[in-house]
Every structure is written in C-alpha cells, then in structure tokens.
Amino acid sequence: MAVAQHLPQGRNQAEDRHLNFHETRDKLHLWSVELFFFCMVIHLWGKFFMAAWRGKRGLTWVTGAIAFIGSIGTASTGYLSQTNFDSQWTAGQAKDGLNAVGVGAVFNVLDTGQMLLWHVMLLPLIVGVLIVLHVILVRRHGVVPPFDAEPPVNDASSETRRDSLGDQSVPATPMAAPADASLAAPAQPGGAGR
C-alpha cells in the first residue's frame, strides 16, 4: 500500500516495472552507442596515422570506412526511431537535407516505420557484412608493419602461436600479429610506404 502511494496516478506496479525496463534499456543503448563511436573514431584516426592501407591493405581500409559511414546512418535512423521530441526535430531537419538531393523521395525520414526497419534490420545487416569482410581482411593480411620496417633476413626466429580455440600450439600463420618488426633488421631509407 505504501509502495502504491508512490506510483504515478494511473500506473500500477507491473506498468512501472515495464517502463523502468524500457528506460534502462534506452539508457544502455545511448551510452553504448556513444562508446562505440568513441572507439571507432580512435580506431579510424589511429589507422590513418599508421597509413594502415600499406602493403595491399587498401580494401581493408575501404571496407572499414564504408562500415563506419554505415554505422553513422544506423545511428541517425535510431534517433528517428525514438518516437520522442528528438525524433520529431531530427526528422524535420533531416528531411530538408535529404530532400535537397532527391534522396527523400525514396528515403522518408518522417516515416517512422520505414526508419525503424532501416535501423534494426537493413543497415545493421549491411554494416555486419562489411565488418565481417573487414575482419577477414585484417586476419588475411595481418597488422601493418611500422614505416620502413624490414623483415629479418633469417626467419628462423618465428615463434609458435597458441590457438585459443583449441589451446594448441600451431606454427605461425598469416593470421598472426607481427611482433616488434623494426628490430628485425635495420631500417633502410626510401619509400617503404606511400
């Protein structure tokens, strides 16, 4: 009885728990998205300053960049799907930007149902596929070596790598991350990277 007196008029305890669940989920959603972009921006700038596209890794960069752009689209459609004041204002502003270049004719930001579909299904699917491709490419080519790094002349120093999935020791494979490569051989002048 004492608890009921603290509930807003017209809401019972079950409704209150339901609302609390949704509010908590929304808060977790917001901050996880903020952290996601914080980490992605650091990753993006880090890879730029490393010129991580060197050594035939151009496609790795391209897939990562498109996935980043796709994640921005996913976030934006999320703002349009909140069904709150933010959604109303964002939709009103975004429509002008998209209509100005003809996109709004087929991508209607005022259509909440359409935006929700893009947010929860279509864009995550596209971004997910790109991320899988991106990770496969990183695993295929390995991490980019530092500028002017040269591999050791004698490669006998290669260690073995323990595979966490099977807890086994396996020979170093193309999936392995390079160690401190610059000590392996003296750096040479010239254009190792572009």
Partner: protein, 317 residues
C-alpha cells in the same frame, strides 16, 4: 628493384615475414566486451540519459493556440513551408540545386501532399455534428482557388498584425470561412483527434508520421522548443542532444559547414553541404588510392607515437 621503383610504389613488406607472438583473439574480445559493458553501466548510473517526450498536436494546440491557427491559415493560403516545398511533396517550389544538378526536382513528387487539402480540410471533414463547420467547408470548397487564397492570405495578414497572433484580436475583414475553419482546426487539435486523422485515416496500422509532422514543423512552436534546447541548425544542433547530453558528435563536420559562409547564407545550403560531404566521404573511403594524401601520415609523424617503442629502439641504435 623496389628501391628503383621509388616512393610511388608500395614496398611495405608482408606482415607474415616478421616474427610473431602469441595472441588470443577470443580472450581480447571477451575482455573488451566486459570492459565496455561495465563502462556503459557506469555511465548510465552516473549520467542517465535524456528522453524528452514528443510534442503531441494536442500539446501544441494547448501551449501555442495562435501558432496552430497561423499554421492552418498558412496551409490554406499556400504559404507554409510544406505548401511551397516542391519535391517530394508537390510542385509548388523549384527545390534546391547542386550547381547544374536539380536533384530535388529530379527525385520527383513521390510523397504527394496538398497542404491545404491533406493537412487541414480532410481532417476537418471527419468532424460531425458541427453545422457551422459544415457550412464553412462547403463555402470554401465551392469558391475559386483565387478566392480561397485571397481569404486565407488576408486572414494571415490580419493575424500577423496583432500581438501574439491572437485570432480574437484580429480586425474584421473579408476572410470568408477561413476563421471558422482554422478555429475548428484548433479545436480538433486540442481534443487530441488530429493526430489520428492524419496518421490512420487511410490505414488501420499507423506507422507513417509524415502528415502530422509537416504542420508541426511548419509552425514555430516546435522550432522554438528545439532552439531553447540548442538544437537549431545554427547552434550546431545536428550534433547536440536535448539537455546536457552528448548527441552525435561524429556529425561535427556535417554541421560545421552550416555555420560558415557561403553555406550559412545560401538558399541551397542543404544541397551544397550534402554534396560537399558526399565528396569528402568518397575521399575518406578512397584515401589509400589518392596520391599525396596517402603519403600524408608518414610526414605527420604521429606514427612515432603509435609505434613509440619501435621509434625509441631505432633511435637507440
């Protein structure tokens, strides 16, 4: 051979030629997931998050009745933002251009909306038991388009001439049935019935908010509320959030262009900024293949900080 090719050739050695060390990818993933999850919960506990309720048309009518009447009058006069928009809603405006490209117009009228008919008159036609309204609707619809526009424009001018746009203070004039139509529109909005008429009048399931959002954005109330929450276009609003919460800071470059000339003062700002950002996005995606730009990181030297151990050992040698 590779040296002879010079700096234009990518001579980065294969990563697989270097020594390797143990690396547990699953372990790293689990640690990252746990740390990020804990950090998220911590941020929620400390800062919570905003969730400002949507402005209903009823709330709009009760908070700013004069704005509702002025907006309905503008829809009837054909002078509201949506009535003069152009594609994709109608052909009343030329739309924005990107240089010689008329992209907005080329997009076509794919979401046809006649502001007066769809946003004002059709909702009013659903009201029953109001003889004065029925008569006003009949009178309005039997008049010529020129007469309709004249009535509505005159009433819009009269509203603009009085303090706060209060319809009760408007001077008498030849407004035809427009004052009755707009006052009943206000009544309908105040009752909470307008949203339903605009969203589900033609469908049982309503998930498209285009029609209720257009009059709301045509009015000044929503914008006033947004500007008070620093969400205006010239307030870097695209990257802001209601209250003092982070919004979409990753949109900083997109909203930056709206703050500077020529974009800030251009009638084609949306198209120009969109075009510029599309070009910059392509540059970002294809950095690896753009001569000069792809060599920039080597000269910036930030890589010495990233590979600081390598740089230190190289210096020591």
């Amino acid at each position: 051979m590779s040296r002879a090719a010079g700096p234009t050739r990518d001579a980065t050695p294969d990563a697989h030629l270097f020594p390797t060390r143990p690396y547990d990818l699953v372990k790293e993933f689990v640690i990252a997931l746990v740390v990020m999850g804990a950090l998220t919960v911590l941020l929620v506990a400390v800062f919570s998050s905003p969730d400002r309720k949507a402005v209903s048309l009823r709330a709009w009518a009760r908070a700013a009745p004069s704005d509702v009447v002025a907006t309905a009058t503008a829809e009837l006069a054909g002078t509201s933002t949506s009535a003069t928009y152009g594609a994709p809603y109608n052909t009343a405006g030329p739309g924005q251009d990107l240089g010689p490209l008329h992209l907005q117009r080329w997009g076509g009228v794919r979401i046809p909306i006649h502001s007066a008919r769809d946003l004002v008159l059709t909702p009013l036609q659903t009201v029953s038991g109001d003889t004065a309204l029925a008569t006003a609707l009949t009178t309005y619809q039997r008049a010529s388009t020129a007469q309709q526009t004249k009535w509505a424009s005159s009433y819009a001018d009269a509203l603009a001439a009085v303090p706060d746009g209060d319809p009760a203070k408007a001077k008498p004039g030849s407004y035809g049935p427009v004052p009755i139509l707009t006052s009943r529109f206000l009544t309908l909005a105040s009752s909470g019935g307008l949203e339903g008429v605009l969203t589900t009048s033609n469908a049982f399931y309503g998930s498209n908010e285009t029609k209720p959002l257009l009059p709301l954005t045509d009015g000044t109330y929503l914008e006033g509320q947004a500007r008070a929450d620093h969400l205006g276009g010239d307030q870097w609003g695209m990257m802001n959030e209601t209250g003092n919460y982070p919004g979409q800071p990753w949109m900083w470059l997109y909203t930056f262009w709206y703050q500077v000339k020529p974009f800030a003062t251009s009638g084609n700002a949306d198209a120009l900024v969109w075009g510029l950002m599309a070009a910059l996005t392509l540059v970002l995606i294809f950095v690896p293949y753009i001569p000069g730009l792809r060599a920039l990181p080597r000269h910036l030297g930030v890589h010495r900080l990233i590979w600081r151990d390598t740089a230190a050992r190289r210096s020591a040698k």
